[in-house]
Amino acid sequence: MTTGIVRGIIANLVHVEVNGPVAQNEICFIDLDGVKLKAEVIKVQGNIAYTQVFESTRGLKPGSPVEFTQRMLEVKLGPGMLSKIYDGLQDDLHEMEGLFLNRGEYTDPLDDNSTWDFTPIVKEGDSVIAGDWLGEVPENWIAHKIMVPFTMDDKYKVKSIAAKGTYKLIDTIATLEDSDGGLHEVSMVQYWPVKLPIRAYKEKPRPFKMMETGVRTIDTLNPIAEGGTGFTPGPFGTGKTVLQHSISQNAEADMIIFAACGERANEVVELFVEFPKLDDPRTGRKLMERTIIICNTSNMPVAAREASVYTAMTIAEYYRSMGLKVLLLADSTSRWAQALREMSNRMEELPGPDAYPMDLPAIISNFYSRNGYVYLNNGTPGSVTFIGAVSPAGGNLKEPVTEATKKTARCFYALSQDRADSKRYPAVDPIESYSKYLEYDEVREYLNKNISPTWVSDVYEAKDLLLRGKEAGDQINILGDDGVPLVYHQRLWKSELLDRIILQQDGFDKVDKSTPMKRQCYMLELVLKVCRYDYEFESFEEVQPYFTTMINAMRQMNYLEFQTDRFKEYETRLNEIVEERRAK
């Protein structure tokens, strides 16, 4: 085993002189007066390995001994991860002692002695390859598949498989024979290096299904596909995190992995205080039962921040391999990019734009490409959908992280300062934002088949309405209220109606915070119906009050349970208002 000694310390970059072979991304432990600090090799030059330490290096002295592990940064995969709160290195935060995070304290992500009710899926003599399901155990409510470890790259024959019964996590549940006759014992646990994608699936088609998030401005206007990618850039205070939390609560996914990457600790606390109490709107179970939180807040060591998004992605891929619909949310990928920048700077690399490393776009697109809709070896579909928040410096969407992400993510939800300032939440800009999936024939077909036969054309009609409203608004601002034809005022207020009723959503109201697709369809059709009419006005001063009464009636509908008597009352009221001025 290679060992080394510390030669230099610049914050969390430590130079280690080594006496043997080391690998890029190899994990080592630096001994600081008996405390072992985990570190990762990020560059090797001669006999000096440059390592990034996942902990504070305060007090570290040159000459301290270092041990290398011959392994890359790995996650431990197996039943028991659901509902857990891990740090970026997959330490179980609940298992840690004391109020503070003490450096060098690493906890086991899974309890080796936990017991699980195993049911075999394969039988002796079956042929299997990496990722094939050997059996399953119930974990919370999901049937957690025990798979042939992804690292086993041969073809195997099942030599023996455990009978139905209760086993410990680390008990052998199967013995597999490789093509050379070698035997391999398999337990419920396996390890995988986080920086490498898990590729144990048969094919990865283009996404074709829509994933409901419950957020109208996304679902109706710019839907994200299951297995798709999206990102939400926005200046601070525009509601990135609120939007991510809202999606995590209401999205139609089997499970949610939330990577809180370099953000506020109180926001994570909100997740794990509220999720155990909140119900999953679709299954009625507690939200925490379908959630794993990877939490590396802004004050936790910066190198572990980079690791945290990879840890989250690897766990997502693992659950996808069980045929589950996984939604991965990362808040925020900019912090991860900044962590890369800090290290690149300490290594005195030549900087790219804004001092970010030159290969930042490549790193980002590599990461985004790990998501996707897949058919597993047995034909079962599974998916990882990824929505990342981006925090552009100065709110400038031309900065490197946003630009690099824009090249790779297919949905763009731009959060706008103007909308946030006028409290139009969620502040997703309806004009700037787009979903490339709306252009996919398979997605359009899916939408028309599953929502309504005219859905895609309705959505484009809504988009046109917004655009024309904006143009009319601009003209009114330039020429004045009476300087434009009366119809401009109508156009402006029709788009305002659509904005207030469909796009704006009260994330803190128990009814309005999540809208099922059926209701979204109903409301959009209602809004479009109202907007298709022409109305008669004597002067522009009548337009605003008239539309305000319509908006008010429809807002009340948004706050009420769908199709209840009171809901219908307001709809009747709306129809009466419409009839008052409708051009016959």
């Binding site: 030669r7 230099g8 310390i9 610049i10 914050a11 130079h15 504070s56 290096t57 305060r58 007090g59 570290l60 002295k61 040159p62 000459g63 935060l93 004391g98 109020l99 503070f100 003490n102 601070f236 205070g237 370099g262 506020r264 600790a265 109180n266 994570v268 606390v269 909100e270 807040t297 802004s298 004050n299 910066v302 900044q338 920048r341 800090e342 700077n345 005195e348 900087p351 804004d354 001092a355 970010y356 925090s391 410096a393 100065g394 709110g395 400038n396 006028s422 409290k423 601002n477 004045g480 209220d481 009476d482 803190f508 605003q544 009050p545 305000t548 908006i551 008010n552 807002r555 706050y559």
Partner: protein, 440 residues
């Protein structure tokens, strides 16, 4: 800081810059303290036997034969109840003529709280300032800065907040504070008869800028002592963090680091997060709340300092001089307290969130009307009413000299809404209208 037995003394400096020096030495730990010719310094880089030290008070007059003595420990603060009512410099030494404080010696800038050991902040901090309590309610364990132009009275507002809140301890961390402002704080606290709850760590403009880097950690170490050991509600006031960041950029520049946006070090986000994330609500009842000041230039919040701060803190407050009423107000359109939803309507009256939303929205309509007016367009009746509302709203609610309870603020706002608008324009849910809209 005199030399004691068994300490190695080094006298061979190989490099001196404006803020750092490098010495050949062995057995030195990272972030360890030292003195260079009697001046306090801290290890910031070690490559083999070359140890780079950042000298807090600057390197003027340091010779290549200067005596370097290492302490074998990072910076510390002695904490005990005796800190109360005292004034210290950035090193934690008394500057009020009193005796040195005895107590437990703890490292400053210690580890982070395990997120799962935190409690969700849920206790309201009433300031009596309606622009804050009504529109941007503060919560214990929150961190929030004022983004203020240098000419705005942010120190007065901070002092007002300190005086009106019912915190158990108030810790003032002054960085680059002018001596006048320092004396202002001192006199205000003394006159209010609350000097015993106040602890101050002060770096004034007379002191070397790099010393400031110690101030937040000193203040927050003291805060942790009272919040954890004594379960007290601690309010930490930090002013001005822009000057702190300037000191950071000086040091990183002297260490030949590649600057990122606006000449700030690439690690600015992490550096600031380390300070602000010390704000916490503990399960045992103690809490640390941070109210800071970040001065901005010409209202530009895209500069790296306010920008990074905004991403870290739980909201931000803006001051604005309202020329219609000739008073300083808390700007409702731009200010935001992210934690307000945790208490609004839960710890306050049920109508609070909706009343806040409606009034802010109608106030924004007034802003649009004002733009129209300035561009010479005719105003509609609605525009006129919105403008009249905005003026009363600024005077009765937003102005920082308004000091009333939250229920009263709500009643005033309802009155204003009713005076200028119709039920439809206000657009609040019917059940609240039924209850609070006075029948004619």
């Amino acid at each position: 800081m005199t030399s004691t037995a068994f300490q190695k003394v080094y006298t061979k400096l190989t490099q001196i810059t404006k803020a750092t020096c490098t010495v050949k030495a062995t057995g030195v730990g990272f972030e360890e303290l030292a003195t260079v010719s009697g001046r306090l310094a801290q290890v910031v880089k070690i490559i083999d036997d070359s140890v780079t030290l950042q000298i807090f008070s600057g390197t003027e007059g340091i010779g290549t034969d200067a005596e370097v003595i290492f302490f074998g420990r990072p910076p510390t603060l002695k904490v005990s109840d005796d800190l109360s009512g005292r004034f210290f410099n950035a090193y934690g030494d008394p500057i009020d003529g009193g005796p040195a404080v005895q107590g437990k010696e703890v490292e400053i800038g210690g580890p982070s709280v395990n997120p799962v050991r935190r409690e969700e902040p849920s206790e309201l901090i009433a300031t009596g300032i309606a622009g804050i309590d009504l529109n941007n309610t503060l919560v214990t364990g929150q961190k929030i800065p004022f983004f203020a132009d240098p000419d705005q009275p942010y120190n007065q507002v901070m002092a007002t907040v300190a005086l009106r809140t019912h915190a158990d301890k108030i810790i003032l961390g002054g960085m680059g504070l002018s001596n006048d402002d320092f004396l202002y704080y001192k006199h205000t606290f003394e006159n209010a008869g609350m000097i015993d709850k106040i602890i101050s760590f002060i770096n004034t403009t007379d002191d070397p800028p790099v010393e400031r880097l110690l101030v937040p950690d000193m203040a927050l170490t003291a805060a942790e002592y009272f919040a954890i050991e004594k379960n007290e509600k601690v309010l930490v006031l930090l002013t001005d963090l822009t000057l702190y960041c300037d000191a950071l950029s000086i040091v990183s520049n002297r260490m030949d680091q590649i600057p990122s946006k606006d000449s700030m070090p690439g690690s600015l986000y992490s550096d600031l997060a380390k300070i602000y994330e010390k704000a916490v609500q503990f399960p045992a009842g103690g809490s640390i709340t941070i109210v800071a000041v970040t001065t901005i230039s010409g209202g530009d919040i895209t500069h790296a300092i306010p920008d990074n701060t905004g991403y870290i803190t739980e909201g931000n407050l803006y001051l604005r001089r309202d020329t219609d009423i000739g008073k300083v107000v808390i700007d409702p359109a731009r200010s935001l307290s992210r934690l307000k939803t945790k208490v609004m309507g839960k710890k306050t009256r049920e109508d609070h969130p909706k009343v806040m939303e409606a009034s802010v929205r109608l106030n924004a309509d007034a802003t649009r009307a004002r733009t129209k007016m300035e561009n010479g367009f005719e105003l509609t009746d609605y525009d006129e009413r919105a403008l009249a509302f905005a003026k009363d709203y600024a005077n009765d609610i937003l102005a920082i000299d308004v000091n009333v309870g939250t229920d009263e603020m709500l009643d005033i706002t309802w009155e204003l809404l009713q005076k200028y608008f119709t039920v439809e324009e206000v657009a609040i849910q019917d059940d609240l209208i039924q209850k609070y809209w006075k029948k004619a």
